[in-house]
Amino acid sequence: MFDEYNPLNKAMFRVIDNDGKVVNKKWMPQIDDDKLLKIYKDILFARTADLQIVSYQRQGRIFTYPPNYGQEAIAAAAGVLIRENDWLVPAFREMGAMLAKGVTLKEIFLYFMGYEDGSAFKNAKYTLPMSVPISSQLPHAAGIGYAVKYKKEDKVVIGFAGDAGTSEGDFHEALNFAGVWKVPVIFIIQNNQYGISTPVRMQTASDSLAIKSIAYGVKGIQVDGNDFFAMYKTIEESVRICRNGEGPVLIEAVTYRKGAHTTSDDPTKYRSKVEEEEWDAKDPVKRLRAYLIDKNLWTLEQEEKIIPQYKEEIDRQFTEAEKYGPYPAGDIFRFLYAEMPDDLREQQAQYERFLAWKSTKVK
């Protein structure tokens, strides 16, 4: 597959077309109907949650949020294939994969409400918090890959970044280290066409992002990221390659950020309605839905019935998160060090003395 879709050939790997028809039987992955249905529902759930968060933000109930809308097939495919003991190294637009690893919606809510507790991931093993400084998480993925290989563990590492993320030095260094070390790391670049307002053609003059794999002697492929089956097959194959000791792999997943960069962003400033509509036709959920309906595995009626249930569930978790309560003063101090310096303890005490004084002034 990686030979056939060698990035030098400039052919993007896809399995279904925009109407959900299989156009590439050879590489159609084998997935049970039940499992597929479950996957679709998870994607639907994630999309519903994502849209809901945006509306919570509009209501002033959370702070800035970067929507996943339009890119869900990528993180979903990773989520299905990543195992409990594999490592997930997210950027910040991979909700589906995080949920699959065991991160709770409530944690995600808490994080965007402004609690670090939302990054503790108490139920999700081997999952790093979201990483805000672009591509700085990729060297972590390479390092974890080294640890996995060194300890001879049967694990893979999946690390994410965006298209603009390929411009950072850390992308280069991470891929280069991973290539030299031959570690089991799958780097997935979500090419959603923009880094905030900057189109990908202004990030690089290279023919594709996948082709950058050549600079590191690693396998690379460009995939239709809005085609769930193509993403699934690519990651499945990548996992196999990694478990075989033939990793790392660089995957460029071509997609589109249908929403804003974050809730503070206004995409009308830098992209056209025409372009947005073009990409609407390639929506990943729509395509998978069409496939399922075609296969009589799903109906629009079912979907109409299930969405309100999801909304309710999401809202329940959100309201619970809203009751999370105040942020204890001590929490800003206690997690920095395994062994807390005396001086920091004293700073905390100072702050507490101040709070006591203040409480006598402000009623």
Binding site: G114, P133, E168, G195, I196, Y351, F354
Partner: protein, 325 residues
């Protein structure tokens, strides 16, 4: 005179310099079409073209490193780092080249360049979007680091920064980007870099602040006034070089000094100001030079940020403590 907030004032400064000097080039992440995530560069690409105002690949070291090259080659790049928390990938270019090329080449080469960036907390932002690490930049020889606290100063200081032949880190207190409106002179004027300004005369204690903290101190001063304490307020404006003279004069008068900063405490700006006070006015001191600062912790996410920030109460608490010392 025109009513402006700081965003307008900075935009105006850029507009004026782009207009009068072809060697001025403005670039960075999303500064072109988008006009910057805070809209500071809004309209400039349209007015001056994409050759002079443009978006770059997402790579801070590349941005600062290419600016060093442009500056050496006779341009005056004004680059933007999208947030204080994202300047670090460019750290090597700043400390190893932007601040050194002149010294290294014995003055044969110069790097007339400005690195602009919003900094500071109080805007309910994600991690890395609220930092105030001016102290580490102030410690870099060859760099000048300045911070305006008003729209008027922002305009005048940015014009001075662009016209300077030195490398200037221009830190913009994003918390008050739009919070303060003021009459600002129209057209070109500049404010000399490196000079503090005394915003209020007082006798009991000197308070040194800059950027968004100036306003917090002003609020604390209302409480102080009620308590009968007369505060002299210095807006430092320049982190490096520090205006020792203004500090010395003030502390000799008041005998007491407090520095208010947002960044972490240890090795922060506060201790340097204290050191200057003791070097310049030891025998006049009636209380230990002191500081109100962030704690030695990561700026918390929004729900915890109030525990970290300097509020007027925290400042007043310290004013009272020091005056009663």
């Amino acid at each position: 005179m025109k009513i402006m907030n700081m965003v307008n004032a900075i935009n105006d400064a850029l507009d004026i310099k782009l207009g009068e000097d072809k060697s001025v080039i403005v670039y960075g992440e999303d500064v072109g079409v988008e006009g910057g995530v805070f809209r500071v560069t809004e309209g400039l690409q349209k007015k001056y073209g994409a050759e002079r105002v443009f978006d770059t690949p997402l790579a801070e070291s590349g941005i600062v490193g290419t600016a060093v090259g442009m500056a050496v080659a006779g341009l005056r790049p004004v680059v933007e780092m999208q947030f204080c928390g994202f300047i670090y990938p460019a750290f090597n270019q700043i400390i190893s080249h932007a601040s050194r090329m002149r010294n290294r080449s014995r003055g044969q080469l110069e790097t007339p360049m400005v690195i602009r960036m919003p900094y500071g907390g109080g805007i309910n932002a994600l991690e890395h979007h609220s930092e105030s690490m001016e102290a580490i930049f102030g410690h870099i020889p060859g760099l000048k680091v300045v911070v305006p606290s008003t729209p008027h100063d922002a305009k005048g200081m940015l014009i001075a920064a662009i016209e300077s032949n030195d490398t200037i880190l221009f830190m913009e207190p994003k918390r008050i980007y739009r919070a303060i409106k003021q009459e600002v002179e129209e057209g070109k004027f500049s404010i000399p870099l490196g000079k503090a300004s005394v915003l209020a005369q007082g006798n009991d204690v000197t308070v040194v602040a800059y950027g968004a903290m100036v306003r917090e101190v002003q609020k604390a001063m209302l409480m102080a006034k009620e308590a009968g304490i007369s505060v002299e307020l210095i807006d430092l404006r320049s982190i490096y070089p520090v205006d020792r003279e203004t500090i010395a004069k003030s502390v000799k008068k008041t005998g007491r000094i407090i520095t208010v900063t947002e960044g972490p405490r240890t090795y922060g700006v506060g201790s340097e100001i204290s050191q200057i006070a003791i070097e310049e006015a030891f025998l006049h001191l009636e209380a230990p030079p002191s500081r109100v600062s962030g704690y030695d912790v990561i700026v918390p996410l929004p729900k915890g940020e109030h525990h970290y920030m300097q509020d007027p109460y925290k400042i007043f608490y310290e004013i009272e403590r020091i005056v009663k010392y």
